[in-house]
Symmetry: C2
Subunit: 347 residues, 2 copies
């Protein structure tokens, strides 16, 4: 009996200690009820300052940390939010994720990250898996159908980035404003014929950009020719160079920075000097200034998008309201070193 008592009791104690101090232990040690300990942490104003003080001291010495899971169970809020992106390896997303996380941090929320590999099925699965453990989800560039998105939104607070579904809070990056500026800029520099190096045919952004370019060009009396790059990638940009030069254009706007970087490399290979002989503008500004010469590009606002989306979600969670917000983020041209006036002669 004695042996049983000893080993059993000691083991239990040790396991407890390893597993963490509970509210009851603090309560006992401080000579108060469990509820008082709870309140000392959540609503100290309900207790006398001395009691709060004493409890806090005891908690401190015992190394008590409130159990997140238990709290979540009784309150129904666990302070986590999900963030689902199609492809984390695409340089467009990391800054967005980073900004979202920073914003979440400010309100003590943790981020669950999901990567769908561009697959709607995987996206659906992730939302389901997250559903039980997050208070809300931010879907970035969702590949789901409108119906699925609506269905999920009925289950839990949802905010979309770069997806425009009526009635669901969303943050949209409008690249057309920046693209228009790009064309205007080139026109001012004297370029009369411009190539648009297009991206994936089924991309919403590609459509948006192409449309914006055409409309800007026609109002500025600039010639536009489209050269397809098939994929949004360095390689396809590089491969498109011959076709670009064949058009006789003196400048190009590429679907995205990666494509533009490929074009830049292709031009260098063909001894066409940028910006002296040819002007080039990218989109999304994901490369910063890392190319040489530094690439002029259209800003992407992904950082703001991440920040705004998360803060919008948190706001919804805290006010319990389902605001039908629709934030549109304008873009603009970021001038660097790949554009120059036509026919400019170095001194």
């Amino acid at each position: 009996m004695v042996i049983g008592f000893k080993s059993g009791k000691y083991l239990e104690t040790m396991i407890k200690r390893a597993k963490g101090v509970t509210i009851s232990q603090v309560a006992d040690a401080a000579g108060v009820a469990r509820s008082s300990v709870s309140r000392a942490f959540t609503r100290p104003d309900m207790l006398s300052p001395e009691t709060v003080d004493r409890i806090m001291k005891v908690a401190e010495t015992l190394g008590y940390v409130p159990n997140h899971t238990a709290r979540a169970l009784s309150t129904g809020r666990h302070g986590n939010i999900g963030l689902i992106v199609p492809d984390i390896a695409n340089p467009f997303f990391p800054p967005l994720i980073q900004a979202g996380q920073l914003e979440a941090d400010r309100s003590d929320f943790c981020i669950f990250l999901g990567n769908t590999e561009e697959s709607p099925k995987q996206e659906d699965k992730l939302v389901g898996r997250f559903a039980g453990q997050v208070e809300g989800i931010v879907l970035v560039s969702s590949r789901l159908s409108d119906e699925r998105i609506r269905a999920h939104a009925a289950q839990l607070p949802l905010v979309l980035i770069n997806r425009d579904v009526d009635g669901i809070p969303r943050v949209l990056i409008d690249s057309s404003s920046g693209v228009r500026q790009a064309v205007e800029h080139l026109a001012e520099l004297g370029h009369r014929k411009i190539v648009y190096v297009s991206g994936p045919a089924n991309s919403w952004s590609n459509k948006q950009r192409r449309t914006a370019i055409r409309s800007a060009a026609s109002s500025l009396k600039v010639d536009i020719e489209t050269v397809p790059a098939v994929l949004a990638s360095y390689t396809s940009g590089r491969n498109a160079v011959s076709a670009i030069l064949a058009t006789g254009a003196t400048a190009a706007v590429a679907f995205d920075d990666l494509t533009a970087q490929g074009v830049l490399a292709g031009l260098a290979e063909k001894k066409v000097s940028v910006p002296r002989d040819f002007s080039l503008i990218g989109c999304d500004d994901v490369l910063g200034a890392v190319t040489y010469p530094a690439l002029t590009s259209v800003s992407n606002r992904s950082v703001e998008a991440g920040r705004v989306a998360v803060s919008l979600l948190i706001e919804m969670l805290q006010s319990n309201g389902i605001r039908d917000a629709r934030y549109v983020l304008q873009t603009h041209l970021v001038m660097r070193e790949t554009t120059m006036a036509l026919g400019y002669l170095a001194p």
Copy 2:
């Protein structure tokens, strides 16, 4: 009274429905005890097949989904693992994260992502915040001191990537093999003085690479000089160029590809032609062939590292054992276009 009953009851029902079906509702509907429903989901072999069947059908029609939080509270396991990286925007990490997540997915674990912005303080804070809600953590390129890491490892299962702390399971990408090849390659090309452009001072990889370079150089009778880049970034690489050229070296190995890319741009700016006048090698091979000229680099194995680390962690969690594993992943030189024999004359 009637009004109170109606509104109260209905509201409650609606809230319940919105909040999710509970195990009790399923139990009532199926005419069994709550425990049976629980077992139908967790240990169906304990119940008769017919009972399981009936419960499952009822659960299905009611749309019952087990509450993750409640389960976590009683079992102590919530099926989440944390993944903490210093800088998600650094292209080295996304593929690693992606691979880790894929691996976690296979065992139905969810990933909590943390970004420390290279700050040990933030890293500490994140580990603390995660601690309550994850079963284990993978720390990638931790900037914490050995003591802090040990302290955290005492609290919960921990796996390290690119950090070598005794007694703590770790996955190491051994860049020294690749770095040695890089130096050998440069030596063969006739370079007698090489600069190492170093990275973050408290980075394990940086130490490892510097050591490997020194040892390779001394055995090959090559001169080594170190120029600090402070941060692993394009900008610091670019800023380091003057110092690099001042050493009189004819080739450089940079801490990582980003730094190398900065150096490349800096050299171009100063009209130093790569590879004709200067040879350059990066590390981590994160840029593929996107620079011009395409950067010769040391392979990184980050995908394997992410996969192995997560699978190791999950294995630890499931077997409850704390294996002192130490996986080392070898690297090799990836030759591209930024190296050339010294004094080579173009035909």
